[in-house]
Symmetry: C2
Subunit: 280 residues, 2 copies
């Protein structure tokens, strides 16, 4: 397949092996939020390198990825270093870091992760208990992110990578009327129509605006750590995403996200610990 045939996500997370567990990537400016690349995008790049490092194991899918965020990623060249920690029967665990060179040529780590991979296709279907997906108005009654004003979209090119439709109550912050539930939820798919898959879910779990917007707090809320569980390969179509923060205290908050596929199956869960936005 030629690169030109790939979706924009596939092109943006492509990695080239250099041997010894080292992979080269080119981080795209289209995934910027202000001057920092979206964390979920960086996670998908690392996830793709980890997948490549496990090509011989037949374990292509992230089952659980824990990421500690160290510094903001920038567009341009990056290197992912992956080291196999344990290779088991059903799962393999890899430690990986994404690094970039700063202008001074010094190498700086952006994210460091521990990732346990397996093969989702080998799981035996058997849903015993399940939470319920969020109830949302129909897609056409939700608010497309593409309706945001042009200045915002210029500052946040990342918004144009997704087709996100927030339910009206979750979009009140945009007009100064946050619901103050600490909840943001809506429909989501990739803007270019590429179906979601396990790697794309690593992006999706960190793709929503911060829940602090819904608490009436504008501003950047840096992630300290994010762990994602991928529970199933998503069916094609619109996914439902719900993010909630229940405990905002002493300058920190947790953000729990769930991703449900078009069949109503929970396909991913994540939790992050983030720093409260500082007053501008």
């Amino acid at each position: 397949m030629h690169t030109a045939d790939l979706s924009e996500l596939d092109r943006a997370i492509a990695v080239t092996g250099r041997g010894d567990g080292e992979y080269a990537a080119a981080l795209g400016a289209g995934w910027l939020i202000g001057d920092a690349l979206n964390g979920g995008y960086l996670l998908a790049v690392i996830g793709n390198a980890v997948r490549a490092s496990l090509a011989d194991a037949g374990q292509p899918d992230p089952f659980v990825v824990s990421a500690h965020f160290l510094s903001a990623g920038r567009p341009g060249p990056a290197t992912v270093r992956a080291r196999l920690v344990r290779s088991g029967g059903r799962h393999s665990t890899v430690a990986a870091s994404l690094v970039q060179q700063e202008e001074t040529r010094a190498e700086v780590e952006r994210i460091t992760v521990l990732a346990t991979y397996g093969d989702l296709a080998r799981n035996v279907p058997d849903v015993r208990t399940t939470a319920l997906p969020p109830e949302l108005p129909p897609v056409e009654e939700c608010l497309p992110s593409s309706a945001s004003d042009e200045e915002l979209r210029r500052m946040v090119p990342f918004m144009d990578r997704l087709d996100l439709r927030l339910e009206p109550e979750s979009a009140g912050w945009a007009v100064g009327e946050p619901s103050r539930r600490g909840v943001l939820q809506g429909w989501l798919r990739l803007a270019d129509g590429r179906p979601l898959d396990p790697l794309a879910l690593l992006l999706v779990v960190d793709a929503m605006p911060p829940t602090t917007f819904d608490l009436g707090l504008q501003g950047w809320a840096p992630t300290l750590e994010l762990t994602a569980h991928v529970r199933a390969d998503p069916a094609p179509g619109w996914a439902r995403v719900r993010c909630e923060s229940r405990n905002f205290a002493d300058g920190y908050f947790e953000e729990d996200c769930e991703v449900w596929d078009s069949t109503g199956r929970l396909v991913a869960q994540s939790r992050q610990l983030a720093l409260a936005p500082r007053p501008a």
Copy 2:
């Protein structure tokens, strides 16, 4: 302070620096569940080594620890290797692994973690939103784990390290009547009266029986990964612990635990991804 003055937890998680980020520990048989050491105990040992490795940074407290479980820990000598990944203003991130020698003298990794530490005492008190602690009957109406039969307690010496009082509904599984809510909750303190602190919370978030017991599934449910957030230094006294599984599918389940201190403050949150127990 003499070792004899320390609580049993402090003695059991003690580490001795060997230089170059290497720490020696002696894992205690009192923390066994069957023939494997409790994962939370191992996490507290690693947490103590990470604290020692950051002694000069003035950042003694785990803020978020992500642990991938590789093999079962055994009583006896162990080594923790800690490597500073990033040292920042408010937080430092350390990668650490706990290893043991097998009978063949080969070194085997038990747990590998990424840990971001800071100083909880420097956080400015400011609780903006908070979930509510679980409603529990008074301690004296709950069921002490010390009332379990002697054979069980011989197989699970770990039970005697804790004073755990499950609410009656959460203890139904012990008499063949699981509530099937996927919830276990109760009061908890350390058996020897040592007050909880941030390191002890790493133990507490993995101290409850698996929530699968409450779903009517007996048996060992191995943890693949556990991430803990420590949100505050707990006040002395009984803590309330609530663990819940909402999604049990295809042989995997998540388990979310919350720990609330005696003042009703959320002090820790954890989520793990575990393997469903295999039928005996």
